[in-house]
């Protein structure tokens, strides 16, 4: 058991969940008090001792299920790891009956199982569908996604969804809200996924599958290569982050210890101790809030990055005296108002980018022109308390850099920072002229994921 636990801990660390030795020991101690045959109890015991961040819980569950997949209840075919999955699988409950059914009948069964939220039945049907339609071949090097798509096509979930909603509008039928319908369909998809994963594990061994399925934690996903699903995960992770950062920034501003002595207040307080000043009172520090000017490159290549950063900056706007935003591609325009009135910053950036505005003229980003226009038209807006933040990859399409405009901006502003979503190793290659601009900036930061973005915001003052 200890060996298994060590393996699990190693797997968790590989995914990026930090597990300290103390926590490892605690987990072992916790297992001594847990009934090992009770899987949910084991999972609860391990989760409570090993995972200390709610964002990591989902990743933990995946790793846990994967790691113990071979040991899943005796119902599942994967418990017998043999060469041919189909012939040797111990039939799950009801498979004899399901096996004899036609595809149409099976569809009907599935519909009923989803409607009544019958998880046992869902699992059995998922197994049956995978057996029949996924064309599962042991040893074949294809991704689980392939099997998944085949099984899904056979399940025809959209037809079931339609039937469910038709039923709901019908007075006599079981009423389900839109949300509940989606939830149940999602449940079935999870069952399918579990089933396929189990078979893959039985076939290739857990280590191999883990490598393929191992997904990075949301805070480590690269902005530039984020897929639709990753982007959603990043957006989820950004929401609480803004609140946390705001709290931290505010706290730091309020607790300056080196504030001067408040003599009157100290004297007054000493009255209760017979005139002896036991407690000193300091003046409340004067909170300094920077005003922030953001220039964001929203051309196609870095648009996702700009959207996430703008979203975070906007969520933090109570912490800054003023936040103003300009967007540019090869033209530049102020978009503060626009962002202020939109719920979804990512969508707004897209609209600015492809709508009619002065921001996009020909297409490729032109940093030189954008910077010159900004310095000329809005240069007076920069005050000595302003922090200027430029978001972009500094890829100028071999156009004139005009870094003298950036120098003007730098001279007026208190700080000038540049956030670049590309890995530092790729700066100054091709049409990237990061170094040329960097000499005018206070600092340039590589900012490829939420972790790095957080570190940067933390440093703002």
């Amino acid at each position: 058991m200890l060996k298994t636990l060590a393996g699990l801990v190693a797997e968790l660390r590989a995914v990026g969940i930090p597990v300290s030795p103390t926590e490892h020991i605690d987990a072992a101690a916790a297992l001594r008090h847990t009934a090992l045959e009770d899987r949910p109890a084991v999972r609860a015991a391990l989760a409570t001792t090993l995972v200390k961040n709610p964002d990591h819980l989902r990743a933990f569950t995946t790793v846990f299920d994967l790691y113990f997949a071979g040991r899943r209840g005796d119902l599942s075919p994967s418990s017998s790891a043999a060469s041919t999955v189909e012939s040797s699988s111990s039939p799950p409950e009801g498979e004899g009956m399901l096996g004899g059914m036609s595809d149409g009948e099976l569809g009907e069964m599935l519909y009923r199982a989803i409607r009544d939220r019958d998880r046992v039945m869902m699992r059995a049907i998922a197994a049956q569908l995978v057996t029949r339609h996924s064309n599962f071949e042991p040893g074949r090097r294809v991704a689980g996604v392939y099997y998944m798509s085949r099984a899904l096509a056979a399940a025809n979930l959209s037809a079931i969804l339609d039937r469910l909603s038709a039923d709901s509008s019908d007075e006599g039928g079981a009423y389900l809200t839109q949300r509940e319908r989606d939830e149940r369909i999602a449940e079935f998809r999870t069952e399918l996924q579990t089933e396929i994963r189990d078979r893959l594990v039985a076939d290739r061994g857990p280590e191999d599958v883990a490598r393929v399925l191992r997904a990075p934690l949301p805070e480590d996903v690269d902005f530039l290569s984020a897929s639709g699903k990753d982007a959603a995960a990043i957006r989820e992770a950004l929401k609480p982050l803004a609140r946390k950062l705001a709290a931290r920034l505010a706290r730091r501003r309020r607790t300056h210890r080196d504030a001067p002595l408040d003599f009157r207040a100290t004297l007054r307080k000493s009255l209760s101790t017979g005139g002896i000043p036991v407690e000193l009172v300091h003046r409340k520090p004067h909170p300094s809030r920077p005003d922030l000017i953001v220039l964001a490159d929203i051309s196609g290549s870095v648009a996702t990055f700009a959207a996430f950063t703008l979203q975070l900056v906007f969520a933090l706007r109570t912490e800054f005296a003023r936040v103003r935003t300009w967007a540019f591609v090869d033209g530049i325009d102020e978009v503060t108002e626009l962002l202020e009135h939109s719920d979804n910053v990512a969508e707004a950036t897209y609209r600015i980018n492809y709508g009619s505005s002065k921001v996009r003229l020909f297409g490729g980003s032109d940093y030189g022109f954008a910077l010159r226009t900004f310095a000329r038209d809005w240069g007076d807006e920069i005050r000595s308390t302003s922090t200027v933040l430029i978001l972009g990859d500094a890829r100028n399409n071999y156009l004139a850099p005009r870094d003298e405009s950036l120098a003007t901006v730098a001279k007026r502003a208190r700080h000038l920072y540049w956030l670049n979503p590309e890995p530092a190793s790729r700066w100054n290659t091709g049409d990237s002229i990061m170094d040329r601009y960097a000499q005018h900036c206070d600092a340039v930061f590589e900012c490829r994921n939420i972790r790095q973005l957080t570190q940067f915001i933390d440093l703002l003052e």
């Binding site: 300290s20 008090h33 109890a41 609860a44 015991a45 409570t48 001792t49 200390k52 839109q178």
Partner: protein, 292 residues
């Protein structure tokens, strides 16, 4: 460290005990409480406001019939408010009324005796002779420096007072820390605790909670209530309705004698669930799907 307690026989027993005081726990919750007792470790409970974090500690105390000692954290809380403090007013009086000719040694040992010690929640929990439940509420409001103060108490269950020496716990208190996650707690603190994330409950569980906490309510109404609340939580709101607000709403509806929620009831009582006018406006926009 004192002996670890054995308040519960199994996680199921925890769940049963909690149920008796009307707290519905899930597997994770019961498991964490059971392990906390067995391993003698504090539980750090994190989650959105109003999901029953504080309630869990109270319920455990009520279920086991033990005393609950509560430390409410706030910014600027210091040693003097959390651990112990010398009662310097009394000490000054003692000095002023010092008998002529008494030696300084005598006076000093006199000044730093238990008579002048004001015990605060943490020390009180350590010194208790009977088993107690210690609730440290909203740790995330503490300053980072003050957080370190908890470490000695939480890992070794002891408090060092320079003038008196180290006071070790005679029994290991069951400790709960709650946090709204408004800031990241230090690794050192997290490492010493078991972690429990309390999120909004699933529809079924919330329905059970409503039925348990508001026993007079009908099955049908409870189902409707939880459905609407869940739909509301899905909207992008400033403050999502918490479980306690669901319960308040259930009681409100019961009070005005609603049998079946119509959209006008929802309009009239929405303020129980939502506390921002912008949220209410947003919810009204999507009302049609909520009631039927």
């Amino acid at each position: 460290m004192g002996p670890t307690g054995a308040r519960f026989g199994s996680a199921d027993e925890v769940a049963a005990l909690l149920k008796r005081v009307s707290y519905l726990s899930d597997e994770m919750t019961a498991g964490s409480v059971y392990l906390a007792d067995r391993l003698g470790k504090p539980v750090l409970i994190e989650g959105p406001a109003g999901t029953g974090k504080t309630e869990l500690a109270k319920s455990v105390a009520a279920a086991t019939g033990t005393r609950l000692i509560r430390l409410q954290c706030y910014e600027g809380l210091d040693e003097g408010k959390a651990l112990y403090e010398w009662d310097y007013r009394k000490q000054l009086l003692r000095l002023q009324s010092r008998a002529e000719g008494a030696s300084w040694q005598e006076t000093e040992s006199d000044l730093f005796s238990e008579d002048f010690l004001l015990t605060r929640p943490l020390l009180e929990a350590i010194r208790a002779t009977e088993p107690v439940v210690l609730l440290i509420d909203e740790v995330d409001r503490l300053d980072v420096e003050t957080e370190a103060l908890l470490l000695e108490v939480l890992s070794d269950y002891q408090v060092s007072i320079p003038e008196l020496g180290t006071i070790t716990a005679r029994q290991v208190p069951l400790v709960f820390l709650t946090s709204n996650g408004s800031r990241e707690l230090s690794e050192a603190l997290k490492r010493r605790c078991l972690f429990l994330h309390l999120d909004y409950p699933s529809i079924e569980r919330e329905r059970e909670i409503v039925l348990t906490r508001v026993p007079e309510i009908s099955d049908h109404l409870a189902t409707q209530i939880t459905r609407i609340v869940h739909a509301l939580r899905d909207l992008d709101l400033k403050k999502r309705p918490s479980v306690s607000e669901t319960l308040d709403w259930a009681r409100t509806l019961l009070l005005i004698g609603v049998e079946d929620i119509e959209s006008n009831h929802l309009q009239e009582t929405m303020h129980v669930l939502l506390k921002y006018s912008s949220d209410i406006r947003k919810a009204q926009g999507s009302l049609s799907d909520l009631t039927r």
